[in-house]
């Protein structure tokens, strides 16, 4: 293998090695393991940057490490595809991971599971890398599940906490439900195309009847819904906040949850050949975006607020890929990864400062105490609410513009309203946490986080500041589009540009939305012109609905979990023990009864013996003569 293939395989190799090392010999490494782990991931970041340059100035390639499975006509190898899409993802993943690793060194300081933490974090990075570069659906599925496992184990990292291990289990199982659809999709795809290799599949898609394509696309999308926590499988993500905050930053904001978007983009051929499926993607995305933002309005747990905002941002991305503007989707994916990672890290730093306090109602006035955190957080917030010149503005605006121009006005309107809500809840958080009068309990010693945590935050903030400019000039002549679009050449364009409104008009609207959202928050929480309580009482039912997360968990628990458990108990206690095994034992006892009867015949009386005998003779004679 030549140089580029070598580094292709070195990129995942380092985190994998890291996993083995810290996993097996963690207790000999003690504290060093954190630094080493970060170094390993850093190396693969550098390597992927190198690879990025190579690919940027040449063309993509695929390389097989070894043949993995072949049975009958089924063949799959461990193969990597390196094209612009995967390389961008690669750089993003490794980059964010590196920063989060460094941050974690400070955050997890002195935790007894230090090495364990880093080994699993490395394993996650490895799996994510493989997921991104895998060249066939089987391999994709493998690491699709592998990242799920990593998130399971990392959410439940503090396994003594019941809530934590419950959350982990919930995440795994809900993902499994999505993956069930994904797997069936793969089966159907294999049945129709007899292969799982991307290129082969894509080349066959145009010749496949539309309804089959739609079925495949929807089934695959089910997997994406699970992984990217879209409605109705979103329930696991908020609970996942039980895990350590850096984990939330890396897995549940930047990388894993965006795998769904990546997958849809990667299979753009399939989706673009099935308008219906794309429609579904758009609808789900739009709904989730709104729905999550609505819930986020009234939460008080900062991590949960950020988590719900993640949901709604993912909704935006699905809107993008749903209307077939994949570059926009990926662009938002990247920028979101940056600023959402930033928000989580800062939130973590707040926690760290307040020694684990998460409730907004017990915060306030933190700005003076922890400046760096506050500033970086605000940058993140501005990016999230799409205020120029922060990255969020460019990426989100690109999506909304495309949505508008392709003629999905309703979706566009929803998007804009969601933007308003987004701006509101994030600034509600900022104001309550950093500015309004302090409600901390005095004996709590609030302190700024150490440098090892703040530096990554600052770096991310800077990136969030600049990365947006990849998105200019707007629309299809932007740098990013120009770079990435080559991978989406063979996508089937199914809806023409309905109208091309001038970009400044659309941007203006969304910026206004953002600003107004901030302003409302300002009025409510800084100026106290209207007390939140009044509004709360005004829209009591709406408020409760939002506050209780639309009761989704309760509904699931009541409609699905409880009846199933009852049914299972019935199966075991009645079906198995009583009916089946009862039948078996029943036969046995029946024979026992016969035995007693049979031995009654042997009653010891000579008379009856002779009688039996002669009856026997009589019967014999009867058998032949009378009959």
């Amino acid at each position: 293998m030549d140089f580029k293939e070598l580094i292709t395989w070195l990129i995942p190799a380092f985190p994998l090695a890291g996993w083995f090392l810290w996993g097996l010999f963690g207790k000999y490494f003690k504290g060093i393991s954190g630094y080493l782990a970060s170094a390993f991931v850093g190396i693969s970041f550098i390597l992927s940057v190198i690879l990025f340059i190579i690919v940027a100035y040449s063309h993509g390639f695929t390389d097989t490490l070894y043949p993995w499975i072949h049975a009958g006509i089924f063949k799959a190898g461990v193969t990597a595809v390196i094209d612009r899409l995967s390389i961008i993802m690669l750089v993003m993943v490794t980059g964010v991971s590196t920063l989060v690793h460094i941050y974690s060194i400070g955050y997890m300081q002195g935790d007894k599971g230090f090495s364990r933490y880093f080994s699993f974090l490395n394993l996650f990075v490895f799996s994510m890398i493989m997921l991104v570069i895998s060249d066939n659906l089987l391999l994709l599925y493998v690491f699709w599940e592998a990242v799920g496992f990593c998130s399971y184990i990392l959410i439940g990292f503090w396994y003594e906490k019941k809530s934590a291990s419950d959350a982990g289990k919930k995440a795994f199982i809900v993902n499994r439900i999505g993956d069930f659809g994904f797997a069936v999709g793969i089966f159907l795809l294999f049945l129709t195309t007899k292969t799982l290799n991307y290129q082969a599949v894509f080349s066959m898609i145009p010749s496949i009847p539309a309804y089959t394509v739609t079925a495949i696309a929807l089934l695959l999308f089910a997997g994406a819904v699970g992984k990217s926590a879209q409605f109705p499988l979103h329930v696991w993500l908020p609970d996942a906040m039980e895990g350590p905050t850096p984990v939330s930053a890396l897995i549940h904001a930047a990388t894993m949850v965006t795998a769904g978007v990546y997958m849809v983009a990667r299979f753009h051929v399939i989706f673009s050949y099935s308008p219906a499926a794309s429609e579904v993607v758009l609808i789900v995305g739009t709904f989730t975006a709104f729905f999550a933002a609505f819930i986020a309005l009234t939460q008080f747990d900062i991590k949960r607020i950020v988590a719900y905002s993640t949901l709604s941002q993912l909704g935006y991305m699905f809107m993008a890929v749903g209307i077939g503007s994949y570059t926009a989707g990926i662009f938002h994916l990247i920028s979101h990864a940056i600023f959402k990672g930033l928000l989580f890290l800062t939130a973590g730093s707040v926690m760290h400062g307040l020694s684990g306090e998460l409730d907004l109602r017990k915060m306030g006035g933190l700005y003076k105490k922890m400046k760096t955190t506050a500033i970086t957080f605000i940058i993140g917030g501005l990016a999230l609410s799409g205020i120029p010149p922060f990255s969020g503005f460019f990426s989100k605006d690109a999506i909304l513009a495309d949505v508008y121009n392709k003629g999905f006005y309703f979706a566009w309107a929803v998007g804009e309203i969601t933007a308003l809500m987004t701006a509101f809840y994030i600034f509600r958080l900022i104001f309550l946490a950093f500015f309004s009068e302090s409600k901390l309990d005095p004996k709590l010693h609030v302190h700024e986080s150490p440098g090892i945590m703040t530096v990554p935050m600052i770096i991310l903030a800077l990136v969030a500041l600049i990365i947006g400019f990849l998105g200019i000039p707007p629309f299809n002549d932007s740098i990013f589009y120009g770079f990435l679009h080559v991978d989406f050449q063979n996508a089937h364009i199914f809806d023409p540009i309905a109208n091309n409104a001038p970009w400044y008009f659309l941007s203006l609207i969304s910026v206004l939305m953002g600003l107004s959202g901030i302003y409302i928050a300002y009025i409510l929480y800084i100026k106290k012109a209207v007390s939140p309580e009044k509004i709360k009482s005004m829209f009591k039912p709406v408020y409760l609905l939002s506050y209780n997360k639309v009761y989704i968990d309760e509904i699931y628990d009541f409609l699905i979990i409880k009846p199933l458990l009852a049914f299972f108990n019935f199966l075991w206690k009645v079906m198995d023990v009583k009916i089946i095994d009862g039948a078996v034992n029943g036969i046995a006892s029946a024979f026992a009864g016969f035995s007693v009867k049979a031995r009654k015949m042997q009653n010891g009386l000579l008379m009856s013996y002779i009688l039996t005998l002669s009856v026997g003779v009589a019967a014999l004679l009867f058998y032949y003569f009378v009959r």
């Binding site: 042997q602 009653n603 010891g604 009386l605 000579l606 008379m607 009688l611």
Partner: protein
Amino acid sequence: MSNYLILATIIFTIGAAGVIIRKNLIVVFMSLELMFNSANLGFVAVSNALNLVSGDIFVIFVMVVAAAEAAVALGIAIAFYREKGTADIDEASELKN
């Protein structure tokens, strides 16, 4: 000859009935003898009818055997009487089930 055979059958049946219904040991033995002798009658009749000799030989053998059996029977009967103090065969009901 069939008439003889019918007669023999009747005697045999009487003997069997005797074995079945009578309780006293000795009577049971006698009924057994009756059964044997009905067979003898049959043999004699048949060999007479088919003017063969083998039937008569058989009869002699049967008589011998019957004698031997009677000896054994009485031996057992005495032993039984010693232990149970009665000759009622319903007493013999220790072995059961």
